[in-house]
Amino acid sequence: MALIRTKPDSQSYTFPGFGSDRFPNFMLRGAGDLDNWHLKTYEGRHEGYVALKKALKMDPASVTAEVKTSSLRGRGGAGFPTGLKWTFMPKDTDEKKHVRYVVCNADEGEPGTFKDRAIMEYNPHQLIEGMIIAGWAMQCRQGFIYVRGEFKWLIDKLDAAIQEARDAGYLGKNILGTGWDFDLLTYRGAGAYICGEETALLNSLEGRRGEPRVKPPFPATRGAYGQPTTVNNVETLAAVPVILRIGGAEYAKIGTPNNAGTRIFGISGHTKRPGLYELPMGTPMDFLVNELAGGCSTGKKIKAIIPGGCSAPMLDEKDFDCPMDFDAMKARGTMAGSGGVIVMDEDVCIVEATLRLTRFYAHESCGQCTPCREGCNWLEMILHRIEHGEGRREDLDLIASLTPRINLRTLCPLGDAACGPIDSALQKFRHEFEYHIEHKRCYVKGQALTVATPAH
């Protein structure tokens, strides 16, 4: 058995008032305490496995119905209703018995997002319990947790937690006397952002290259190893025990209509108190940025905020009051995404920031679809020459003609994600691009955001 890492992290997980009725603490219980992950702590202090015992007394369809009532939406980024997703799984009939899988997407790689690691670090049993309940609701026999390769120490921890659960009879054969068998297996990725996309993840889980699949067939029809599969994010699955414990209707009361529950928001960039803050959905963004995270760390004005991981289009100051839920963000032309809030002060060169993000997408494109493979590289080249004083007057029109040819024309959303930051930057900070082209230097004087290529 591998050693469990005991290194404390310098992350902030709490704020005054956290844990009260106004700001319930469902997902970050005991976060920061390195001994919190053990089964005895989870059972003793955090009402652990109470929800599972309750769920196993209900029939599987009622468990799914309860999740539907809660109106929980997927926390990975797309915000798809979880209960509805679960109903897509085929039922056994007399003619055909299915092998079904539930897969947890722990390939957290969206820049600006660091919430799932906190759940796996401090409350792995909450995730495991959520997976067992999901497994019961969909009548699966096997679950997989696909974790990104860099989180090796978290896989060791998850393996240890799974073993604890197995020893306690929550996993394995005949769980709590129901006659139902279920087990979990972790799988380690190997450093590919694209594997966060569910079909790419399934390919990777099968030991193949992480290339997204053509849909349909959707994973609920043909997923992992060709069998019906449901893929859910870590935070989504960890919310399931909470729903079962307090009841779907009660959970639905938290947050805004159609955007129920709490969500872990990660705030990073130019902020005084970066960290993870669990807030009810629909909390205004400026409350998080100014009240909780203490405003801009450099003491300057905030120029732009990326509200949901780097794929979400940027917002400028007129939208800083936007409620952080899926529908409100969509109405403002961006997306709630994965809940990673990135703050940029007025000295950040938007051209360079956009270049850095585009380089990321060009690097992470799996190369399967031409618009994304070629388009992202072209976008990077064009932005690179603008940033380095070789921009041409027609370049902005060229970018504007390129992005609609990538957006929505690829198998997976990576192409769309690459266009979001560029389109929004061009729309809201066009003067910076124009200034760059005309004066061959930055509009502002901030620190460099990209590494200069060494002269060979």
């Binding site: 992290d9 310098s10 690691r117 297996l185 780097c310 850095r356």
Partner: protein
Amino acid sequence: MNHPLPPETSERPLAPGQRLAHAARTSLSESCVQEIQALATKYPDKLAATLPALYLAQADMGFAGLEAMREVARVLEIPEGHVFGVATFYTMFHQKPVGKYHLQVCTNLCCALRGGAQLFEKLRQRLAVQPGEVTADGMWSIEEVECLGSCGTGPCLQVNHEVYDEFIDDAKLDAVIEACRQGHVPEWGK
């Protein structure tokens, strides 16, 4: 259906991208072979063992070069072409040797806003090594990587499998390098 990689001959040279570094030995250690064989039955499909097997082979040989890929294909009885495709797709399989301490700096936006690019420059100067190279004594190699999932506490530095994400600044960087020199950080592959 096996698609072996063609050997390089003077008449049929490989493309530059296909020419991989050679490991000191051509076969995996006996214990590593046994571990890989055990993996083959762990998942519903033996193909699924490709990634974990490559990790084991990489740890055994020091890097996932041609010999490591061939061995994984041989032990798991799967096509070499499949293993080759997988090993070259993922960035955590290194096709050429890395230093005893492989230092990776996240320079994506969140870390860059907190000085990730400058941290990488400092590392490059202090260790006198360029990305993709290994110092002559085999100690150091550096790599610019994408998001390591430590956006709030960046800039993030990862040494082999150890993550250092406590707002790395000059002093902390020196401390990490010194810890490596003293041998307090696990070496690559350990």
